[in-house]
Amino acid sequence: MLLEIKDLHVSIDGKEIVKGLNLQVNAGETHAIMGPNGTGKSTLALAIAGREGYEVTSGKIIYKGQDIVGMAPEERARAGIFLGFQYPVEIPGVSITNFMRTALNEIREYRKLPVLSASEFLGRMEEKKKLLEIQNKLTNRSVNEGFSGGEKKRNEIFQMAMLEPTLSVLDETDSGLDIDSLKVVAKGVNTLKTKENAFVVITHYQRLLEYIVPDIVHVLYDGRIVRSGGKELAIELENKGYDWIKKELSRA
């Protein structure tokens, strides 16, 4: 198993947000996580990536057989975990090129791979830019600075393509994307998909799942996964909303 989350509890500022969550992801799988606003989806994603202040009060996040709770975010990234942010940060003055070069070099150094030469690196940039139909002028700019909502999301997937992670958690990468961009992003994800890696896609819209077809769909509600099923579950949610789940839960 690539990722196994066991009875995870996460608090922010002493307030419990994730309340006993279980999730298992195998290599080669794509999972979708849906759920109403404010139920803890991003909190889960950030806890997996190791955001400071997201305190794991109990439970385990086992990745490749090792509990990563307490590991620095960069160590997780080097081990192959990637988070596509719901709200990517603007970093004036740091160009995407330098950012990616530094990241890739550090990851490669950690994995004892030779550092890419400037031309190898730029070759890789070109290849991934083509894949995601990213214009040159975008990568010469500062990270996310002044990017449109859609450009920011596309840039997240571009970074994922550059770093080739094993586990990618994509937090609402589809929101803010027009239909063409959505297709490009989906194509990117599908091209990068292998038997060895896995994707956890957080979304509100079933539309994305027509392009990135999940093996399993989960519903996250009030800090827990309360239902899991096949891709039909997403269609059902799209049609009926979340009320029926809430009702069932309150009855139980």
Binding site: R51, E74, A77, V89, P92, G93, V94, F99, Y110, V143
Partner: protein, 470 residues
């Protein structure tokens, strides 16, 4: 109180030195300069050294610097030594004309003053005083206010040598002029250099002014520069400061700008015990513009004080100030920006900004932007920030595999970049980037050569690809 006594002691010592050496001090003088010296030493006796109760000096502690033991040289101390024996300096891909001071004295004694075919004169101030009395009578001591503070008076009384640059009307100087001031003496020196720069109408020059130490001796440099920028003339002035932690540099620059002239000044402070940059410009003709920038990277107990006074004396002028600093450990910084818009200076545009990043709880920054406006049709803004690195940005970078140290480096570098990006000479900009990178990594030393030549431990730099080289 012993501290005050110490600065009084230095004051007494200097007054006595002046009397005992006045013959030597005034040996190159025109009579009016000797007269100015006499008046200046009286001013100094009256006002003395600045102290913490004065608004502009409130957060700058001079006590330690003024209680040091110093000697002064009233004639050059280097004999026949040539500059190449002390240091070499070259910025990759940047050709400059170079003039140098060693311990406050112009070093090339064989050719103290050079007049080029196009009429540009450069070299020793002492020599120029003798040769060009008419220029001195018109400009010397006319822009710097000797009563502004004790240091200005003291400098006017004592100054014997420094840089002199004269660019005639309509001459565009292509090669930047590099002015290097090196301190290398076996005891603590008290130096008072004075520079005079004249730009004729429609002329243009770029100056790169480097202040460097070459050893760990204490020194006190009280430097005053006067610059006249005539109509339509353009000056770019870069200052690179890389001094040892025992050094004190009082650096006052007084500009007078005429109609449609433009000034771009950029002070890059990388090291120094106590550095004060006072920039004073009078926009004395319509259409003049002054861009005054600075970036400082201080650590240990270093202190930097940037003071800018912009006098919008005429309508339709533009000024823009941007100072950014990174302060680590116990370092401290002061920024005081004062913009004066006089009654008739309509259509003034004046902007001012100071941003600081504190790396520790013990680092300190003080910012006081100040607008004093008497005209009604003006566009002015000012702002100051003091903060830490953005934790969201830190996490974003780290989540891509970049370690905390490098993430910090990337963000700090990006922060400083906004100022460095304003350097218009590409080769110099690259060199400054490099120095800042080294400084941030703790690899920039007070080398035994000029900072610009200091390659330090030549480690591979992880980021920044020069796209032109692939």
């Amino acid at each position: 109180m012993s501290k005050i006594q110490d600065s009084t002691a230095l004051k007494k010592q200097l007054e006595q030195m002046f009397r005992e050496n006045s013959k030597l001090i005034s040996s190159h003088d025109q009579p009016f300069i000797s007269k100015a010296r006499e008046e200046a030493i009286i001013s100094f006796s009256d006002i003395g050294f600045p102290h913490g109760q004065m608004e502009d000096w409130r957060n700058t502690d001079l006590n330690k610097a003024l209680s040091g033991k110093y000697t002064s040289l009233f004639k050059p101390g280097h004999g026949d030594q040539s500059i190449d024996q002390i240091f070499k300096c070259n910025i990759h891909e940047l050709e400059t004309d170079q003039i140098s001071l060693l311990n406050g004295w112009y070093i090339d004694t064989k050719k103290p003053l050079v007049k080029q075919e196009n009429g540009v004169i450069s070299g020793s101030l002492a020599k120029a005083m003798e040769e060009y009395p008419e220029i001195f009578e018109k400009h010397y001591g006319k822009y710097a206010d000797k009563d502004k503070d004790g240091f200005q008076a003291l400098n006017l009384a004592f100054a014997q040598d420094g840089f002199f640059i004269y660019v005639p009307d309509n001459v565009v100087v292509e090669k930047p002029m590099q002015m290097i001031s090196i301190i290398n003496w076996s005891e603590g020196l008290f130096i008072q250099t004075r520079n005079l720069v004249i730009l004729g109408k429609n002329s243009k020059i770029t100056m790169v002014h480097c202040d460097d130490s070459t050893n760990e001796e204490a020194m006190f440099n009280n430097s005053v520069t006067e610059v006249f920028i005539d109509e339509n003339a353009q000056l770019e002035h870069y200052k690179l400061q890389n001094l040892n932690n025992q050094s004190t540099l009082m650096n006052a620059i007084w500009f007078r700008q005429m109609k449609n002239s433009s000034l771009k000044s950029n002070a890059i402070t990388l090291n120094g015990g106590l550095i004060r940059n006072y920039t004073h410009t009078v926009l004395d003709g319509e259409g003049a513009s002054a861009e005054v920038y600075g970036v400082y990277l201080m650590d240990k107990s270093q202190h930097v004080n940037n003071q800018v006074f912009i006098d919008h004396a005429k309508p339709n002028c533009y000024s823009n100030e941007l100072f950014k600093g990174i302060l680590d450990e116990e370092a401290s910084a002061v920024f005081n920006g004062h913009v004066l818009v006089r009654k008739d200076a309509q259509q003034t545009n004046a902007f001012q900004s100071n941003k600081n990043i504190l790396m520790t709880d013990t680092a300190k920054a003080n910012a006081k932007p100040f607008l004093e406006i008497y005209a009604d049709d003006v566009k002015c803004s000012h702002g100051a920030t003091i903060g830490q690195l953005d934790p969201e940005a830190m996490f974003y970078l780290r989540s891509r595999g970049i370690c905390a140290a490098n993430a910090r480096l990337l963000l700090l570098y990006a922060f400083a970049r906004e100022v460095v990006d304003k350097i218009s000479i590409e080769a110099l900009k690259m060199r400054v980037y490099d120095m800042i990178r080294k400084r941030l990594k703790g690899e920039l030393n007070i080398c035994d050569t000029c900072a610009l030549h200091c390659d330090g431990p030549n480690k591979e730099i992880l980021f920044e690809i020069d796209m032109t080289k692939v």
